[in-house]
């Protein structure tokens, strides 16, 4: 068991030629925490994981595992186990040999090795495949072998790179719950990369949101690090707000009409005025801003909390049974709302929706969030 501390980490595959992949990453991952890395494809999640494992060196900055500086320690001595994005099973070995390979290399006592393999295989339901080669396994089974191979090493830090991405929906849910249980039982520090919002929100103690670096000279591509609900309710900036939550948050442009410490009046580009429970005391009337509204935070007009009204033109309505999504166009922008099932919405017709002041997020021209003074829950 160990904590992981990352201090001003920079990674550049080709310094001086290529642009940084990771810039000024600072993370303090406590012992036993389950941390999930999310971010768009190519933002450096795998790279950060590989840097922690020691498969790629760090351009600058420091990495500590269990209080020990690991910059120059080879992977095997870092006490990490990793499940690769590509599984990386040894194709010429049976499942049993795959699981036991590391123990054999490390000359772990045969009886102990056998027991650990048996334990992992029972836990992951691999007992009936032990003598098969990876070739003869399904994607899900291979995935479990990959997890098992890292498990038998009893790593202090468990690194998983999109381990469920190849499974079908049902198996995904099952393995996800399995992973959560495993983490509770073993309590090892776990770092997990995923594209899946649900995985991130359900598994994580804390989420790390990374963004791809562009040439705009951003100081860091670590956008936010915090518990899932903090990221949902109090995103640090527009990027995090747009990334966390599904369907994505809607954004409407406008400017501050009346700043305030509790409430803010905003005049939208569509001409409509809107009240938001946001502390905009660091802004001034006339500042350009963007209002963010989550699709699931809209209410019907007759709801007493419908402080504001947004009007749009219906593009498409999706009836999913348990809920209905209506895709609107508001002032030339897409605006998605989640409404009660079977709400009628005829394409090209006008559609009015209520937006509570407590449901609004507000971002300044640089994309930084104004503090919210309330959290909204629909029910």
């Amino acid at each position: 068991m160990a904590d992981v501390k990352i201090d001003h980490l920079v990674k550049n595959y080709n310094p001086g030629v290529a642009r940084d992949v990771l810039r000024d990453i600072n993370l303090d991952i406590k012992e036993g925490e389950f941390v999930v890395f999310v971010g768009p494809s190519g933002c450096g999640k795998s790279t950060l994981l590989r840097a922690i494992a020691g498969l790629d060196d760090i351009t600058s900055g420091d990495l500590y595992i269990g209080g020990k500086r690991m910059n120059d320690v080879p992977p095997v001595n870092r006490g990490v186990g990793m499940v690769f994005q590509s599984y990386a099973l040894y194709p010429h070995m049976t499942v049993r040999e795959n699981l036991a390979f590391g123990l054999k290399i490390k000359k772990v006592d045969k009886a102990i090795a056998k027991e650990r393999v048996a334990q992992a295989s029972a836990m992951l339901g691999l007992d009936s495949f032990l003598e098969r080669k990876p070739k003869a396994l399904s994607g899900g089974q291979r995935q479990r072998v990959a997890i098992g191979r890292a498990l038998v090493q009893h790593p202090d830090v468990f690194l998983l790179d999109e381990p469920l991405s190849n499974l079908d929906a049902a198996l995904r849910v099952k393995t996800r719950i399995e992973l959560a249980r495993m983490h509770q039982e073993r309590g090892s520090t776990t770092i997990y990369v995923t594209h899946d919002q649900v995985e991130a929100m359900t598994l994580a103690n804390k989420i790390v949101v990374l963004s791809p670096l562009t040439d705009d000279g951003a100081a860091s591509n670590l956008e936010q690090f915090g518990p899932p609900l903090d990221l949902y309710h109090a995103p640090a900036n527009r990027f995090v707000a747009g990334f966390i939550g599904s369907p994505k948050m809607n954004f409407l442009g406008g400017m501050i009409e009346e700043a305030g410490a509790q409430r803010t009046r905003i005049k939208l580009d569509t001409g409509v005025s809107l009240t938001a429970s946001v502390d905009s005391s660091r802004g001034r009337a006339g500042d350009k801003v963007e209002v963010g509204i989550r699709p699931e935070h809209t209410v019907l007009l007759d709801d007493p909390r419908a402080d504001n009204r947004i009007t749009g033109t219906v593009q498409v309505a999706e009836h999913l049974g348990a809920e209905t999504f209506v895709y609107l166009e508001v002032g030339g922008k897409d605006f998605t709302v989640k409404v009660r099932p079977e709400t009628p919405a005829v394409p090209q017709s006008q559609f009015d929706i209520g937006v509570p002041a407590d449901a609004c997020y507000l971002f300044d021209a640089k994309g930084q969030a104004f503090p919210r003074t309330a959290r909204f829950n629909r029910t």
Partner: protein
């Protein structure tokens, strides 16, 4: 479960088959000729493909047995053909093994390690290899006679010397193996290293077992090259007892007397080890070794 095919595909298949048979005949015909010559009475290059009165005399001589000619004289075998064959096999096996070992480690470095001058070195190797060895014969001779002065066991007129000379020709093999290594996902070795393997262990326990087919190919190619190589061996080897079969069998052909029959028997014999090695190595020439290792 054959797919349903249209008529035109069937005709095309027939045409392809006919073409392949024709091609095969073209390749096999010279071999049949040589075999025929080796059984033909007298030393004639031309004649029927099925000898009219076949004889085993050429083979007896090649196998080291004396024969009795029409006049009743006993003719001892003129050359130690079996010894030459043994020399050839010895040189070919050892040099093929060493070539596989050298080019594999070399290819690993080129495929997996990053060092400066890597691509330059790779290209340079290939370009140097493009000059035929014949052009360098003088250089070979000069080099090895110099080596003889300092270290005779590796010098002129020795088998180790010849093997040493053959080890120079690995550039193509390095390229071949490097290409194969690059198709094997790097994460396999990374995973092994996380499991605690040293780079050498990752190479030996993961990469090598997965590369067996290409190693077999390189072994066969190196073996064939060494068995059939003539120019360098003819320069470096001098004693009759040390010759390889490729060099020695030329002794049958001198301007005074072309002993085509004896030569043919020796030539067929030199093909035997190649066939044998090929048959043995075939079980290693399997595909799909890396299947199932990585996603996608």
């Amino acid at each position: 479960m054959a797919m349903v095919e249209s008529k035109s595909v069937i005709y095309r298949k027939l045409a392809a088959h006919a073409f392949l048979w024709f091609f095969l005949a073209l390749i096999i015909f010279p071999l049949l000729m040589v075999i025929a010559i080796s059984f033909r009475t007298g030393n004639f290059a031309v004649g029927d493909i099925i000898p009219s009165n076949p004889t085993l005399d050429h083979w007896r001589l090649a196998l080291g047995m004396s024969i009795i000619d029409e006049a009743g004289r006993t003719i001892p075998p003129p050359f130690p053909v079996l010894l030459w064959l043994w020399n050839s096999v010895k040189v070919a096996v050892i040099s093929a093994i060493l070539i596989v070992a050298l080019s594999t480690t070399c290819a690993y470095a080129f495929a997996r390690l990053r060092f400066s001058g890597r691509s330059l070195l790779l290209k340079a190797m290939l370009i140097f290899q493009m000059f035929p060895a014949v052009l360098a014969l003088v250089a070979y001779y000069a080099l090895f006679s110099r080596i003889t002065e300092y270290f005779p066991p590796l010098g002129l007129n020795t088998h180790p010397g010849l093997i040493f000379a053959y080890l120079g020709g690995i550039a193509l093999h390095v390229w071949t193996i490097k290409g194969y290594f690059e198709t094997i996902d790097k994460s396999l070795e990374e995973s092994a290293m996380l499991d605690g393997a040293s780079p050498w262990q990752a190479f030996r326990l993961i990469l090598l077992p997965l590369s067996v087919p290409i190693l077999a190919v390189v072994f066969i190619l190196a073996f064939i090259t060494a068995i059939t190589e003539y120019p360098v061996a003819s320069i470096l080897l001098q004693d009759e007892a040390k010759l390889t079969l490729a060099v020695g069998s030329q002794y049958y052909l001198n301007p005074q007397e072309y002993k085509w029959g004896d030569f043919a028997a020796a030539a067929v014999m030199s093909g035997l080890p190649i066939t044998l090695v090929f048959l043995l190595a075939q079980r290693w020439l399997v595909g799909g070794l890396t299947a199932g290792g990585v996603k996608g």
